[in-house]
Amino acid sequence: MSVAATQQYDDNPRRASILTLLMEPTDTSHPDYYHRVVDCQWACPAHTDVPEYIRLIAQGRFTDAYMVNRESNVFPGILGRVCDRPCEPACRRGRIEQKPVAICRLKRVAADHRDDVTKLLPKIPKLKNGKRIACIGAGCASLTVANDLMPLGYEVTIFEQYGEPGGLMRTNIPSFRLPQTVLSEEIGMITGMGVDLRLNSPIKSMRELLDKGGFDAVFVGSGAPKGKELKLPGREAAAANVHIGIDWLESVAFGHVEKIGKRVLIIGVGNTAMDCCRTSLRLGADSVKVMARKPRGFFKASVWELEDAEEESVAIIINRSPKAFVLASGKLTGMLFDQMEYDLDARGQITAERIVGEEFLPADDVILAIGQENAFPWVERNLGISFDKWDVPVIDKITFQSTRPEVFFGGDAAFGPKNIIWAVEHGHQAAISIHRYAQGEAVAERLAPTVNLQSRKMGMHEWSYSNDYTPVERRLMPHVSIKERFKKLNIEVELGFTAEQVEQEVQRCLNCDVQTVFVAKLCIECDACIDICPVDCLTITHNGTENELRPRLKAPAKNLAQPLYVSAGLPQTGRVMVKDEDLCVHCGLCAERCPTAAWDMQKSTLHWPLATAEAASLEARKPKIA
């Protein structure tokens, strides 16, 4: 049928105008295109190659899986337990059958079952390059900078105010979630590279460090150490029984605090609140209430942290706004709250709020968990390091350089509190900048990411990946019994997946990195791929604008966050092949069915440059002396 005839079938009255604004063929050579299809890797701040490590776990290659992780996220054992896991809400499997792949739990599997990796760690040159780098704070951001720069020959000194490295991972994340042994081992892999780790060495003056330290560059990884206050009547008088969450957790971690009252109120419902309430239960509290100002949909805590707290019988009380601390004979007896009521619109946004009453709740202790900020009392404000009107340092979002060229910031210190995996990625990027800076290169001109493609076709009906869709549901993490876990503060609650659970969970990954790659000129428009696709993501149709095209695809493409692939015009009719990337299960049936191999399944490998790649590329460009 001619193109004209195809068009006659479409009685869309808007077609005339649509035809003038056709979609351009998708540029799949742009490194973002195929990267984005791998939802988990795209969402991961450090771009961990998730499907690759899951396949390695499936093959029982735990050590290799661990090393794939370590390359990107540096702390697989730690992150396999406590990562904020932005990859999971992004995971494609979660759009197909609600629950995403247990990406984080599988990371722990690799870490728990790996062999000794000492020999696989980057080699540290004996001969140093003569450049000295100072890192302030031994949190994950600074440790990542050291991890990336030590193999390049830098001498890295880390100054840490406390007697142990690890930052909030050590002082705030409770050991029932993250065992000290796991933490120490992974930090040891970095300090063992020959880092000059100076414990109990707070930096009290940035000026002094810059003037007298003799460093070529300084990385500030001092975190966001200031917990927010709640200034309400009675706060001062009740001070003995009102605690700032992050400070209190720190005191618990260092053994300075060993018990708490029977009735505890936690103010705020973020992740710090979750750690505070669960820690309270382990220090003798028997009634713990988490007080939320707003309804459930507005909680800041991750779903899994809420679940874990509620499993331990923590009560979460909504619509209570703190009003005053109540005392009797100079001692805290409880708190007064306003009872709130909210009007929500169709999208669940609050349109109005009102106070409908008042409530008193008795308490022996109150813990404030309403947020943190970064603070730099030790950075003099006349060093050329600019701070904005909120007294936050001015940092370049890509290079992490401050307004003083040799000073870089990363982790919570850069843009306020985030999480470990972001701090790691900041560390990677800052390391690239520090390297370029120390080598006298422009900091902003860094390597761009690239993507390689390689066919997975092995033979007539053979593909070198497991392309069968396995309809198993997400496995549930086994926990230590409620009774048992409270016996000691540091009993890790999560037991890790069993072998059977691993075997099933790995099959849930859809291998989103095995991409559907299309060559328009080979297509004979036989419709075989369209008919076989189990999730209806393919359509051959006349081109249109994106808005007009999305609703008329075989399955309307409603998820605007997922791109459409649009081919060049097809040889026989000039129509286009459109793929909605949203729900492709990467089964490869389109490629399997295609008589002309217009579709192929090709594994994409993302090269996300780190300091080593940057160094290799700088080295390659150096003039060679004959």
């Binding site: 049928m1 079938y9 069968d468 036989c526 189990p534 729900l583 089964c587 295609c594």
Partner: protein
């Protein structure tokens, strides 16, 4: 063919029909045809149409003969009843089944070889009887299953894969059906589901014999340069003349006909076909002029497609033969076998 079965996973927003089923519930076994075969696309169109009509799978009867095309009845509506007859004999099986149980929906799938070579006689008589069924010919111009010999629908001058030319004139099933008095005659293309799906819906709802000749390229033996039934050649030489939209029976008719542009044809059960002429000179309700028109275009090497002829007023097999209204298996034994006295009385009438 594919060894990996299409997984059961489906698009979460897959629509449901009146029975609460999705399109996936109307699929069948895994196809063993060559990847890219037109027949598989027709299968997908049948799945779509059966789903849209919300046919109860157990009320569907799938009949076929022998050939790649005839294998496809296994690939849709796995909940239906199926019968693969010997080569070219599908119409007689359809006849018998239909006579016994008129309450079911009959769909026959055959090939150009199965229908126009060995089965030509049976095919003609099914048309004459106006048997209430949809008869689909998956027309690829070759005997696909036996490795690509010319069939009776091979065009003059078309070339086989190895190069030999066909010098025998083709039998055109559309013209043949029209001369035999068929009441519903259509032609379509496996690569055009927008046209094919509503035609299948209309054909399944038509009271009487509905023929759809579907050009269906054989990707392995007849998709080369020089073939007149390849994907490329078909796309260049096929011209939609009449588009048929199927409108199911609705409590209130809300469609607006845009007078002059569309011609509504009311089917027996009250559902409608909206005919939209794409070729102004063509009249799908006039058998003589339509046949002439088709022939003239054929001389130019073009295949007219769409719903080429329709006449809802013709009496079907059951009407002509005054068969009982209900399926035979629902009649009481005494009615079916009234006993020797009644038989004797009947025989006496002939003495």
């Amino acid at each position: 063919m594919t060894f990996i079965a299409k997984p059961k996973v489906a698009h979460p927003s897959l629509p449901r029909n009146a029975l609460g089923s999705t399109r996936r519930d109307y699929e069948g076994a895994l196809s063993t045809l060559c990847a890219g075969c037109g027949h598989d696309s027709i299968t997908a169109a049948i799945v779509e149409a059966s789903w849209a009509l919300a046919i109860e799978p157990q009320n569907m009867v799938k009949l076929s003969g022998i050939g790649c095309s005839s294998k496809t009845t296994a690939y849709f509506v796995s909940g239906g009843h199926g019968f693969n007859s010997v080569h070219g004999r599908m119409p007689s099986i359809a006849m018998g089944a239909n006579a016994a149980n008129r309450a079911l929906t009959y769909i026959g799938v055959s090939g150009d070889g199965d229908t126009l070579s060995i089965g030509l006689g049976q095919f003609c008589h099914a048309i004459r009887r106006n048997l209430n069924m949809l008869y689909i010919i998956e027309n690829n111009g070759v005997y696909g299953l036996t490795k690509g010999q010319f069939s009776a629908s091979a065009d003059l001058g078309t070339k086989a894969k190895k190069g030999e030319t066909n010098f025998q004139p083709p039998i055109d099933p559309v013209l043949l059906a029209m001369t035999l008095g068929a009441s519903f005659v259509a032609r379509s293309f496996s690569g055009d589901k927008e046209q094919l799906v509503p035609l299948i819906q209309a054909g399944l709802k038509h009271q009487g014999f509905a023929l759809i000749d579907v050009l269906s390229p054989c990707v392995t033996f007849n998709d080369h340069e020089g073939s007149t039934k390849s994907y490329a050649y078909t796309r260049e030489h096929y011209e939609p003349a009449v588009h048929a939209d199927f409108v199911p029976l609705q409590p209130e008719i809300t469609v607006d006909y845009r007078a002059g542009e569309t011609l509504p044809v009311v089917l027996h059960d009250g559902s409608r076909i909206l005919l939209r002429k794409l070729d102004a000179a063509y009249d799908p309700t006039n058998r003589t002029s339509a046949a002439t028109h088709i022939q003239e275009r054929m001389k130019l090497g073009e295949h007219l497609t769409g719903l080429l002829y329709i006449d809802e007023s013709q009496r079907d097999f059951h009407d002509i033969n005054a068969t009982p209204d209900a399926p035979l298996n629902s009649l009481p034994f005494e009615t079916l076998s009234p006993g020797s006295k009644v038989l004797e009385k009947a025989l006496a009438a002939y003495r």
